[in-house]
Amino acid sequence: MSDEESVLPGPAAESGPPKPGATPEPGAVADQSAAAEPGTALDPGTVPEQRPASEPGPASERGRAPGGGPAPEPGGRESPSYSRVIIGAILQDRPAVVTVLAIFSALVLGGLIIAFSDTTVLHAWSVFFSAPGSAISAAWQAAAAAYSALFEGSIVNPHTVTAAFHGGPVGAIFYPISQTVSQATPEILTGLAVALAFRAGMFNIGAASQWIGGAIVVTYLGFAVSMPPVIHVLVCLIGGFAGGAVMGWIVGDLKARTGAHEVIVTIMINYVMYDVLSYVLDTPSALQQPHQANLISPTVATNAQLPHVGGPPPQAGLGFIVALLAAGGMWWLLERSTLGFEFRTVGANPNAARSAGMSVQRTWILAMLLAGGLAGLSGAVTIQGTAPFSLNTQSYGTYGIDGITIALLGRAKPVGVVLAALLFGALNAGGTAMEAATSVPVDISEVIEGLIVLFVAAPPLIRAVYRLRKSQAGAPEAVAKGWNG
């Protein structure tokens, strides 16, 4: 939440003077030339982060850009070779590099956990000294089998491709990726909800409560009201946004009026809303399905459901487009509008914002309201867009907590959030397939996600493990805030 603000101007300003202890000139040139474009490169620079396996990917793109320009140093020194530029760029602890290394490290650790909780592997290792090769290969096979099942369940399964050449269904090729997108859709929106609050200097743990607030409104509008097709969808989406916005507004308003810390208030409102959800689903006059003992709502009308793209098997629906539009809207708000500028200023330094004449309290309220609305929209696309089309006490899943990890991994930027949500969507969708194929529990996805975010949040750790050079001398690593503000 913290360093992305300082990172933007950071490298350009800090890496000017070559570091005393560093390698001779080429390294410093790489510093400077790489630092010449970070301001613009950071947003698109997050794009290659999504390739955990091929870590040279981002580096080669990065190395090429400055290499074409001011590569030969005027002082008559030898011009830096491409490889040196690439290595120099990798060895910087730039956010993209740290993210890629964090994902890589988490996958390695996750693989170790998978391997060393497997009984055959443990047995092979218990006789390690008689057959060390088989112990290592057993560990490798266990992890590789799990990860390839995960890949086949989330990106593409080669068998469906070969089957398609032999007359199988072409749609089946896209089934895994559509699962990933479907998993990612609500999480993009909760991720945006957390990210928007981050940018305004607040930590929104309440995406779950805002999700529920939105989902309750959507479900009610969905089954109790009858409207023409397109209008019903829109009314439900707006209702979801409004339902979540109310929940967010309560948090922002309490913070602005009384100074109540948003973290503790959102945690408590989460629990209140879990009970409110159970209560309305337990009350026949509210949301409980008629003649139903279980806590489940009626299904929303067909007119209110979001249409799917391309028939039943691929589940990716219009909800994904809604999520992308929301991400685009948030990008415009933050980067192009006055209100977004106020959000970012208050987030960076509330005292400075106040001195500049901005109303910090108003900004908190508005930011939480919009953040809540985004989480409410997540509830809307889930209810209107995925299978049972109804609400139950488990519908909110882990969207709220995943929103936090996604926002952290995406560095609170809309593009980053979308990519992070797709990565986590792939881990979740692939994890389910992996559990079915190899009996490795799906919970490993949660472990890998947690590890990724832990490493992303601790750049000094990644730097120490991979011997990266520090690029921002003296810049604070984290701007942690206590309960007092």
Partner: protein
């Protein structure tokens, strides 16, 4: 920031007296207008001994309607007094406690006289026993939070400490077959989480709130994964712990009413008593406590006079984690013996709320935790006699109370000044 908090709070401070009086009066009116007007004929029975107890204590029989009117009237009077007379802090707190107690008694009397109760008495002893038992993980978690935050490190990972403590206690006690070793392993697991928290917060300067949330996620995933991978396939070896049996303290355990509540329980309750006293006295009456609080309020000043800021913080987080780990162990080897996925189910977050509710003091946190424990016990009792009140409304009461508390309506709460800020020596 603090200046802002003060100015933002001032309008509430002016109205607080009015608000408090209004709230107290409202409770009294609910007593009278709901539990009084809609009362059922017949007497409510409050049993003061467990069924089958050796010492007989006569039960109390009171008519529900008149009781509600009297207690409601008293509550309204307390509300009016709050508005009219300037009372000392002690009287204010006693007034709030009395009004809440009157409300609960009216509610119980109303529930017990209803036709759904079939004459089952309200067993006060078992209700309070349940309260204490349910509060053990909350109290220990709140103490863990207190230890960390008084030294200036926010500990949101209490939830993870409870969960990992429960997991390790169950698996080790099952594998080894000795419950004591399970208890110690649970405690060490909590301490390990405390160590990781300290390491990442102080060495790698990760934002402490983010860190806590991520650790909770990680531990939930890890224990869930190992549960499915190891515990489910081989439950008899790994998830089949025996539990501690209750120890009745000779003499004290025979006191009518109080004995079975306070002095006839597992070792966990006695550990909790000791921990409350140790942390409270330690923090406020010893040299060590003064140093901890100095580190939490102003680490630079503490460092200047030679106090080891990092050492204190590491120590406190590890010790606090070990306390929370015992609380986690209670969930398995203290009560049910088996581990289940995510079995801490948010207790760590409630412990965090209890600590904040209790204004960062061990005793305050304990009282708040008991309050939360009581609502849970009350909810399960009312559920057992099938009272036609939605259990979900009752369940949300502690959370709403916490929101009201942190919004400053019950009085201002202030965290230690350096709470959550990493200390980097200049």
């Amino acid at each position: 920031m603090t200046a802002l908090a003060v100015t933002a709070r001032s309008p509430v401070t002016i109205n607080r007296r009015l608000l408090a009086a209004g709230a107290l009066t409202a409770f009294g009116l609910v007593d009278m207008l709901i539990f009084g007007l809609f009362s059922h004929p017949g007497d409510a029975t409050f049993a003061l001994a467990l069924t089958g107890a050796s010492i007989k204590v006569p039960s109390i029989h009171v008519p529900g309607g008149p009781l509600a009117y009297i207690l409601g009237g008293a509550s309204v009077l307390i509300g009016i007094a709050r508005l009219a007379v300037t009372e000392s802090a002690v009287f204010r707190r006693l007034g709030i406690a009395a009004v809440l107690l009157f409300f609960v008694i009216s509610l119980l009397a109303w529930s017990d006289t209803g036709s759904w109760a079939h004459g089952i008495p309200v067993n006060v002893v078992s209700l309070l026993q349940g309260t204490l038992a349910g509060s053990i993980p909350l109290i220990l978690g709140a103490l863990a939070g207190c230890m960390g935050e008084r030294a200036g490190v926010i500990n949101i990972a209490i939830e993870g400490q409870l969960l990992l403590g429960a997991f390790m206690a169950a698996i080790v006690a099952s594998a080894v077959g000795v419950v004591w070793i399970g208890l110690i392993s649970g405690s060490l697991a909590g301490g390990l989480v405390g160590l990781i928290l300290a390491l990442f917060a102080m060495r790698y300067l990760v934002d402490q709130i983010i860190l806590g949330v991520v650790l909770n996620l990680l531990i939930s995933g890890l224990t869930g994964y190992l549960y499915d991978r190891l515990l489910v396939p081989d439950a008899t070896t790994y998830n089949n712990a025996s539990t501690f049996s209750p120890i009745k303290i000779p003499g004290l355990g025979d006191i009518p009413i109080l004995g079975p509540i306070l002095f006839d329980s597992t070792i966990f309750l006695y550990i909790t008593y000791a921990a409350i006293i140790l942390v409270q006295v330690g923090l406020f009456r010893t040299r060590w406590g003064l140093r901890v609080r100095a580190v939490g309020e102003h680490p630079t000043a503490a460092d200047t006079v030679g106090i080891k800021v990092r050492g204190i913080r590491y120590g406190n987080l590890i010790m606090g984690g070990m306390l929370a780990g015992i609380g986690g162990a209670y969930l398995t080897v203290g009560s049910v013996g088996t581990f289940s996925k995510d079995m801490s189910s948010g207790l760590g977050y409630i412990a965090l709320a209890a600590m904040i509710f209790g204004r960062w003091t061990p005793l305050g946190g304990t009282v708040a935790a008991l309050l939360f424990g009581f609502t849970t016990a009350l909810g399960s009792f009312l559920g057992s006699i099938t009272v036609p009140i939605s259990p979900f409304l009752l369940n949300m009461a502690p959370y709403v109370a916490t929101i009201i508390a942190v919004a400053g309506l019950v009085g201002r709460v202030r965290a230690p000044a350096a709470d959550g800020k990493p200390y980097v020596r200049a």
